[in-house]
């Protein structure tokens, strides 16, 4: 691997509230190469969203070091290296779809602004530029959110369970569509999910996290051909990869206790 874009080195994050301490992440280390699509997979509470926020300089680590493009997350953020998409689209309801995509260009000072209309075209919503978010479906809103994340031409796309709030069918369509958008750019993607098939289908590598406290259980490369086609999900290699990933997901003790 050449110089990694993201380096996570022995990072821990502890949340304290009064006397209660919650270790969200403990001694987590891994790297992401430029242009890679990496999935962060784990059940609720395993710290995957926390990890994303540590990389994005939204919260600081309690210990350990994070490096993005050879610099601190803060420097990377200031340089506009990040684009972020959340589970809820977090579009501003008082702005039209186009105005929402334009927002990053008006705030901060992005070095490489892209044309908002071009990006709406890329996400297939050119005719909906003047619509307000409430007039759009959940899937459409997430596409606008993705266009917004891409408008500053970021090197690293951070996605926090972006399709989790959508129905199964829309979710699959969005996954395919995300891959085609990613294929047309050279972005690095960090994709947080709790769905094994989604992680296996989309990613080059899957980082499996185990909960309480959050630790890396395994980092598995996905040996499936690109470009990924939808019928891949019904093939044996896909099932085998998913099974390999699933083996590393530790079930919570309170759930397994009652099983045979």
């Amino acid at each position: 691997m050449g110089r990694a874009l993201v380096e996570v080195d022995a990072v821990s994050r502890v949340f304290t509230s009064g006397t209660a301490r919650h270790t969200a992440l403990e001694d987590v280390s891994f790297q992401v190469a430029p242009g890679e699509f990496v999935a962060l997979l784990g059940p609720s509470g395993c710290g995957k969203s926390t990890l994303l926020r540590l990389i994005a300089d939204i919260i600081p680590p309690t210990s350990g070091r994070l490096t993005v493009a050879g610099d601190s997350p803060e420097a990377a953020r200031r340089a506009g290296l990040f684009g972020i998409v959340f589970q809820e689209s977090v579009l501003f309801p008082w702005l039209t779809a186009l105005a929402n995509v334009e927002l990053p260009l008006k705030v901060g000072r992005p070095a490489r602004p892209r044309d908002p209309r071009e990006l709406l075209e890329l996400v297939g919503l050119r005719e909906f530029a003047g619509y307000y978010p409430q007039q759009l479906s959940g899937g459409m809103r997430q596409r606008v959110a993705l266009a917004r994340a891409l408008v500053t031409d970021p090197q690293l796309l951070l996605m926090d369970e972006p399709f989790a709030a959508l129905d199964e069918i829309t979710r699959e369509a969005m996954g395919n569509w995300l891959l085609s958008v990613w294929g047309q750019t050279e972005k690095t993607v960090l994709f947080v999910t709790h769905s094994v098939p989604e992680a296996v289908y989309l990613a080059d590598r899957v980082v499996v996290l185990s909960p309480a406290p959050g630790r890396i259980a395994a980092v598995l490369p996905i040996a499936l051909p690109r470009p990924r086609r939808p019928d891949l999900k019904d093939t044996l290699p896909f099932f085998e990869q998913a099974a390999a990933v699933r083996r590393h997901l530790s079930l919570r003790e309170d759930v397994t206790a009652g099983l045979a």
Binding site: A56, I58, F92, W94, L103, K106, V107, G108, R109, Q134
Partner: protein, 248 residues
């Protein structure tokens, strides 16, 4: 929209009719309960005078409305960025607002003199509290992830205030305005009871003490209709400025 008025309008018309009929049947004296017909005649006869007094009160209310809202907005914004201001302002504002307007007015007259100033001040004080409370909530009623987004986008505090907090608080602001607008008019009118040479409150007092009851009722009708029009105008303004209101 017009059909919404059909039922209440019908009810009001029926009540007015009942009033007229019962009033004639029981031959109630004019100076206690005037008949709708008499009130109507008074409105026509003294309409000009009522309206010119209303105008005085409206101006005082407007002044107080602008002043009260500006101060409330300034304090709400400051309380976001200064925890100390936040801790001091709320209880203090509540204390001030808890003093009845009728008691507050003589105090303000002593401080400010006997012209329009105390009336504007009363209207401002009445308007100030609901706006302050609503804006303090509204400016904070933002999804945490929107803040995270602005952080990742390198937004300055000013940009977060203007592009995120203020637009988010607009619905709350209008909720406060709907209360503030009638309150301002009422506050100014009540302030005129203590001392005034003109205004709708002054007119009410004069009509009462001179036993000109039809005039009193006529004035009430005008105040009522004015307040309703103002309230409705705020609603209209809200629908125009807040087109993104979610349809539920």
């Amino acid at each position: 929209m017009a059909r919404d008025w059909l039922l209440p309008g019908g009810v009001i018309a029926a009540l007015v009719l009942a009033w007229e009929v019962l009033g004639r049947v029981f031959a109630l004296p004019d100076y206690i309960v005037p008949l709708p017909g008499v009130i109507g005649a008074e409105l026509v006869k003294k309409g000009g005078m009522i309206l010119s007094n209303l105008w005085v009160t409206l101006l005082e209310a407007l002044g107080g409305f602008l002043l009260g809202n500006l101060v409330a907005l300034g304090l709400a914004v400051t309380s976001i960025y200064s925890p100390m201001v936040d801790r001091i302002v709320m209880p203090f504002a509540l204390a001030v607002r808890s003093i009845p307007v009728v008691a507050l007015t003589p105090l303000l007259i002593l401080l400010l003199g006997v012209d329009w100033k105390p009336k504007v001040a009363v209207a401002a004080l009445v308007v100030f509290f609901p706006t302050l409370v609503n804006m303090a909530i509204g400016l904070r009623a933002v999804d945490a992830r929107a803040f995270e987004l602005m952080h990742v986008l390198n937004a300055s505090r000013w940009q977060v205030l203007c592009r995120l907090r203020f637009p988010s608080s607009v619905p709350y602001f209008f909720a406060a305005l709907k209360v503030a607008v009638p309150s301002a008019v009422l506050g100014a009118a009540v302030a005129e009871w203590i001392n005034a040479g003109a205004g709708i409150g002054y007119l009410i007092i004069i009509a009462t003490f001179q036993f000109q009851t039809p005039l009193l009722y006529a004035t009430m009708v005008v105040v009522c209709v004015t307040t309703m029009i103002l309230y409705w105008s705020v609603g209209l303004l809200e629908r125009w400025l807040v087109p993104w209101r979610e349809e539920r």
